[in-house]
């Protein structure tokens, strides 16, 4: 709780500056979100696009950002707000990208998970007959963090920018891969844009409508049972609950439910990790212990849940599967 004003002030200022400078929450100028798509041969233009909004791809860097915050925390009482803000802003603009990218080399596991999940999602979409385009280096970030943290003045121009960019590319339908981007594009964007014309669909909603076309090919190495973790945004904001279960049934994958599931699901603690690591840890521990007591194989369908629970893999001897990874194993 101590120095909270400085922490939040700095987090907001850094985010605002990063977004204004580069349009990316991490403030990176070089595209780090296209690697997974290199061998996919997705077209660059089309009325339907797959929008990752960089969420899975930024995970290795998010780990480094949060660990940097924890390292700096003990210094806070020694610095004035302005001095600290200035130091951080300068450091971030000059060397932040290089340092974080260098340190993120060690996060290979989470990078691999993210890339596998995205490849799996694309594979199953293609199996059902949908071949979406991908905007590669022109793919925008949704701005969800700006919205969540109440940076109202900054979210509006970002929303207009993203929307007009998508319209310029001739996009009519967006297939999203994570609940946060889906919520932003479906619920928040229309509040800022009159006559909003984009159709936004989460990939699980699309698969739900096309379950007859899904066929299981692989699966060697898939465990016998899983436990499901529902994401807060997915269930309570988007009401996507039955879709994941029906897809699992369709792929003949057995799963168990926890006591706190569906609309009563427990949070992973991820949304407060940017500034309050200890609180986030307390929340995620409670949830992961509940899930791990049911099965050692936990399925999530949100990059933030995935990154927050993956920290416990070694400690508890569990395996966190993103839904996309599971689809990758079952389809490819």
């Amino acid at each position: 709780m101590q120095q909270s004003k400085i922490m939040i002030s700095q987090a907001l200022a850094t985010l605002k500056d990063n977004m204004a400078r580069t349009g990316d929450p991490m403030g990176f100028t070089q595209p780090y979100w296209t690697d997974w798509a290199e061998k996919t041969d997705m077209p660059r233009k089309g009325p339907t696009i797959l929008l990752t909004a960089r969420m899975y791809q930024m995970l290795p860097y998010v780990i480094q950002e949060t660990s940097l915050v924890e390292t700096i925390r003990p210094l806070l009482p020694l610095l004035s707000v302005k001095a600290f803000a200035k130091m951080m802003a300068m450091g971030n603009a000059v060397a932040g990208e290089a340092v974080i990218k260098f340190k993120a080399r060690n996060a290979q596991n989470i990078r691999l998970k993210g890339n596998t999940a995205l490849t799996g999602i694309l594979a199953v979409l293609r199996q059902t007959g949908l071949d979406p385009a991908y905007l590669y280096e022109n793919e925008p970030y949704s701005g969800v963090l700006l919205y969540d943290l109440g940076l109202e003045k900054d979210i509006a121009p970002h929303v207009y920018k993203v929307y007009s960019h998508l319209k310029d590319q001739g996009v009519k339908q967006v297939v999203t891969v994570d609940p946060h981007t889906t919520y932003m594009l479906r619920t928040i964007y229309p509040k800022y844009i009159r006559n909003y014309e984009l159709r936004v669909i989460h990939y699980m909603e699309y698969l739900f409508e096309n379950t007859k076309k899904i066929t299981r090919h692989g699966s060697c190495g898939l465990p016998d049972d899983f436990v499901l973790h529902d994401s807060c945004v997915m269930t309570r904001s988007l009401n996507i609950i039955h879709e994941m279960r029906r897809i699992m049934n369709c792929l003949d994958i057995k799963f168990l439910e926890s006591e706190n599931s569906r609309q009563n699901t427990g949070c992973c603690g991820g949304p407060v990790e940017y500034a309050y690591g200890n609180l986030s840890k307390n929340i995620s521990q409670a949830r992961i212990h509940e899930l791990a007591s049911i099965s050692k194989n936990i399925i999530v369908a949100c990059p933030i849940c995935m990154i927050n629970f993956s920290k416990y893999e070694k400690e508890l001897g569990i395996r966190i599967w993103d839904m996309g990874e599971l689809l990758h194993a079952a389809i490819l």
């Binding site: 709780m1 101590q2 120095q3 909270s4 004003k5 939040i8 002030s9 700095q10 907001l12 200022a13 605002k16 707000v81 302005k82 803000a85 919205y147 969540d148 943290l149 109440g150 940076l151 109202e152 003045k153 509006a156 800022y192 807060c232 945004v233 309570r236 904001s237 609309q263 009563n264 427990g266 949070c267 603690g269 949304p271 407060v272 500034a275 309050y276 609180l279 307390n282 929340i283 409670a286 949830r287």
Partner: protein, 113 residues
């Protein structure tokens, strides 16, 4: 984008609809993780916002902590709905943040709503 004055009025009007049944307190993950500090629950955060708006509280470290630790998970809204009130609590907290964030960004020591 809602103008600040309208946002304040809307926020106060919505908060007064809360019947203080406190069913949202126990289900909040941050309340559970904070060993029973009511300020760390949905109800607590709405009260903090109310008194910040009325000028009876100052935005200090503790208030900032309570406001910015809301996970926006909407668990409180499910229980609020089931008790017949149906307040969009997370949206109200987000609206409260949108009043505070512009001043916090500037890094001023006495940032207030």
């Amino acid at each position: 984008m809602i103008p600040q004055k309208t946002a304040k009025t809307k926020l106060l009007k919505e908060i007064t609809k809360c019947r203080a049944c406190r069913f949202c307190v126990d289900v909040c993950p941050t309340y559970q993780a904070s060993i029973g500090v009511e300020s760390m629950s949905a109800f607590g955060r709405l009260q903090i916002l109310k008194y910040l708006l009325k000028g009876r509280l100052e935005l200090d470290d503790a208030m900032t902590f309570c406001l910015y630790t809301c996970l926006q998970c909407k668990r409180c809204e499910i229980i609020c709905k089931s008790k017949g009130q149906n307040l969009e609590i997370c949206e109200l907290i987000q609206l409260g943040r949108s009043l505070v964030s512009p001043t916090l960004v500037k890094g001023g020591k006495n940032a207030a709503i």
